[in-house]
């Protein structure tokens, strides 16, 4: 490595590319499985492969812990960060002031865990008074009127309530990702909104530990917030976007 912005994994010497891996092969424990693991690691592109252990985990499976060197690198200077992540969060009062300067009534937002998902802690963290990690939730903002519908709300029901409350933004949480459950359920909401011609009426925001802005956009949302998201961050994003839209509408 000549340029210090070009980086790769670091074990104990710059440029050593050391990576730890673990995985299971559906093969009975023994020298053959171990050899297979080594070949597999080589095919994944690792050099100086060391299988630190292979363990018989029963059921005809073998578990491996291995180390290898990768020669892959990234140029930090060329890495661009998602704009949502780069957005600097304002404080609660600042957001309120910003919105109060532009709107007469509080912004109505409706949130829920949709479909089969019952993990409300995340959406509660964003919407409820108490908030998350010392950062107050949207309910506490003067300029938000937040409605949290809770767990396992059907998309139809969520849309019905959003229309009824004349909401500006819909916030949905999806935590379970197994077999892409989140993708299915998030996509379904967009389809329904589009089918009813309501998609443009709302800012549509997704959140959850494995939601990224990129994924959310791909699915037709306006934004996505992931692991560790803070209410003030979400509030800032909504405020900025609402004001922007208000102004372009003018």
């Amino acid at each position: 490595m000549t340029n210090s912005s070009i980086i790769g994994p670091y074990g104990d010497t710059l440029g050593d590319g050391q990576v730890q891996l673990s995985f299971t092969l559906p093969a009975p424990h023994g020298p053959k499985a171990e050899e297979a693991a080594k070949q597999l690691l080589a095919r994944m592109g690792f050099k100086d492969v060391r299988v630190a252990v292979s363990r018989d985990i029963g059921g005809g499976f073998t578990f491996f812990v291995a180390y290898g060197r990768t020669s892959q690198t990234v140029n930090l200077d060329e890495v661009t960060v998602d704009p949502v992540l780069e957005l600097e969060a304002l404080g609660m009062h600042e957001v309120d002031d910003l919105l109060a300067g532009e709107f007469e009534r509080p912004i109505v937002v409706v949130g829920a865990c949709i479909g089969s998902d019952a993990h409300t802690v995340g959406i509660d963290a964003i919407l409820n008074m108490k908030g998350f990690a010392g950062d107050y939730g949207l309910e506490r903002y003067h300029m938000f009127d937040a409605h949290n519908l809770g767990a396992q709300v059907e998309p139809e029901e969520l849309i019905r309530r959003a229309v009824e409350l004349d909401a500006s933004a819909i916030l949905v949480s999806q935590v379970v990702t197994q077999k892409d459950a989140h993708i299915h359920q998030l996509a379904r909401l967009v389809e329904l909104l589009e089918a009813e011609g309501l998609r443009d009426r709302f800012l549509l925001i997704a959140g959850g530990p494995y939601i990224s802005n990129a994924l959310a956009k791909e699915l037709g949302y306006d934004a996505g917030f992931g692991r560790g998201a803070k209410p003030s961050h979400v509030a800032t994003w909504i405020a900025r976007r609402m004001i922007e839209e208000e102004r372009t509408a003018d």
């Binding site: 673990s22 059921g59 479909g115 089969s116 802690v121 077999k179 530990p209």
Partner: protein, 519 residues
């Protein structure tokens, strides 16, 4: 499992808690006994041997039959009497009667035809046969266990691939690795289905559907494993949600050993109608009691939303209530896997002492119950190394305090449902610590005025106070005030409300006289 008290607990306080919990339950029992639910009715049919879907559809036959009776406006009389009457009249099997009813080849008999001695006899015989089937399944489980008893604490792991065939592979790996109990986690939202799906299933999310066929497949696989390994491996599923009694029947029939089953969980966590859950839990537990199925209560879940230090007493109070409801349904303490959890924020100084205190407290307050101890979940991190150590502290606490059912925490708890090696890593660590600390609990005592003993006393006192409050306002009011899990459930509403009904005077209860409070 009984240990000499190490906390110097006041036995009178414990006694008062029991009395208060009984008062909470006693007040509700008349309302519960006066009612039945769709799922109870379907459970009766299942108990009598009705199974499978309506021909050419996915709808379970029992649902179609009960719905048909509801359409007739006659559900208050219960399904038992008319079906027994038709059987007596036609000489057909229960299943065949139901199939014909649904197909329209048979009509519901007149009300009068349902209150004869023949009908009563028929019902009695069917119920007896149902008990016989359950007892046979229980006996063969006992046989298999004989000489293959697993050591304590039982190491319990979940499989959750969504596909019963992958689940089997993972279960076999786990059993070989040392798991003593395999729980097949259900697909998200199965608890909100007002029917039990049919057949082998491969399409769940975050879990696999609980179906009779899936039960059978997994139990068969574990029977083989038990034989091969010389260690009896228990099978666990969920009698929770809208079909508690039905799942209990299916589980009893297919030789399951444990069921997650709580008197309040559905209300608090799934927004299920309160009376629906209370009536359902009663029958489901009566069935578990006769099948020797251990139930696992869900107080651990309180601490995934409420703070484990602040809310520890709510767990204990709820355990007393769960205990009392279970006794009411005829369940002996030896079948009550009362749940609690290791969920104190590890950022708190002396978090381990808090955990030891409540674990030891639970152990001492319910000395005859196979306590179920749940691992940390909410403070797990994507850093699997960190999370694995948190589980190690849990493992140690469990062994140290003599827990019975030990749910192995997964290093990947904060990431995904377990991969096959996550489970192995977890079991490996639990076994390691079970071996390393085997006699530690017996070797140490806690300072009488120390942290652990003081904390335990404090939690017990607070639980007594809470039970006193609940007994004062009544459980239903307490639930709408949000005493448990910081969740408020308003008096009315909730899912499955339309599936609860008052029994009419002619209601035939095939279990009448078969359940009595356990004392």
């Amino acid at each position: 499992m009984r240990q000499a008290g190490k906390l110097g607990l006041n036995q009178e306080t414990i006694g008062r808690c029991r009395t208060l919990a009984r008062r909470v339950v006693d007040v509700l029992m008349p309302d519960i006994r006066a009612r039945s639910t769709d799922s109870c009715e379907r459970a009766i049919l299942r108990f009598w041997g009705v199974e499978g879907p309506v021909a050419g559809s996915d709808v379970p036959l029992v649902n179609a039959v009960v719905d048909s009776l509801k359409r007739e406006g006659r559900i208050q009389g219960g399904v038992a009497a008319p079906v027994a009457a038709l059987m007596a009249a036609t000489g057909l099997e229960a299943g065949e009667v139901c199939a014909r009813l649904v197909a329209g080849d048979l009509a519901w008999p007149a009300s009068e035809a349902c209150v004869t001695h023949t009908v009563l006899d028929q019902a009695r015989r069917l119920t007896e046969a149902g008990f016989e089937r359950i007892r046979a399944a229980a006996a063969s489980r006992k046989d298999l266990e004989q000489g293959r008893e697993a050591p304590l604490p039982w190491l319990y792991v979940i499989v959750a691939t969504g596909n019963i065939h992958e689940d089997v592979k993972q279960a076999l790996s786990a059993a070989e690795a040392g798991a003593d109990c395999i729980a097949v986690i259900r697909s998200t939202a199965q608890s909100l289905l007002d029917y039990v799906p049919e057949g082998a299933t491969t399409e769940g999310f975050g879990g696999t559907y609980a179906t009779g066929e899936n039960f059978r497949i997994m139990r068969a696989a574990l029977n083989d494993a038990s034989q091969k390994l010389g260690r009896y491996v228990r099978l666990v599923n969920y009698a929770s949600g809208l079909c508690m009694p039905e799942i209990s029947v299916l589980a009893a029939r297919h030789g399951l050993d444990m069921l997650l089953n709580d008197c309040l969980y559905g209300i608090i966590f799934r927004d299920i109608h309160r009376m629906r859950t209370l009536v359902d839990q009663f029958l489901s537990r009566a069935i578990c009691a006769s099948a020797g199925i251990i139930i696992n209560t869900g107080e651990d879940n309180y601490l995934t939303t409420a703070d484990a230090i602040e809310a520890a007493h709510t767990v204990l109070a709820s355990q007393f209530i769960n205990e009392s409801f279970a006794l009411e349904a005829g369940m002996p303490p030896g079948l009550m896997g009362l749940g609690h959890a290791f969920e104190v924020d590890p950022a708190v100084e002396d978090s381990l002492l808090y955990e030891i205190a409540t674990a030891q407290l639970t152990r001492e307050v319910f000395p005859d119950s196979p306590i179920k101890f749940m691992p940390p979940t909410r403070y797990k991190s994507g850093d699997v190394f960190y999370s694995h150590v948190l589980d190690a502290m849990f493992n140690l606490t469990s062994v140290l305090t003599g827990q019975h059912i030990h749910l192995c925490g997964m290093p990947t708890e904060a990431i995904h449902t377990p991969f096959v090696h996550d489970r192995f890593i977890a079991i490996d660590s639990a076994r390691h610590i079970r071996r390393a600390a085997r006699s530690l609990g017996g070797d140490i005592s806690f300072a009488p005025d120390g942290f652990v003993a003081g904390r335990a006393r404090d939690v017990l006192q607070k639980a007594e106070k809470l039970l006193d409050d609940i007994a004062g306002v009544g459980l239903l009011k307490a639930l709408s005030d949000g005493v448990f899990a910081e969740t408020k459930r308003p008096p009315d509403g909730g899912r499955g409300a339309d599936g609860v009904f008052l029994r009419s005077e002619s209601y035939l209860d095939p279990f009448a006289g078969r359940t009595a409070r356990y004392d």
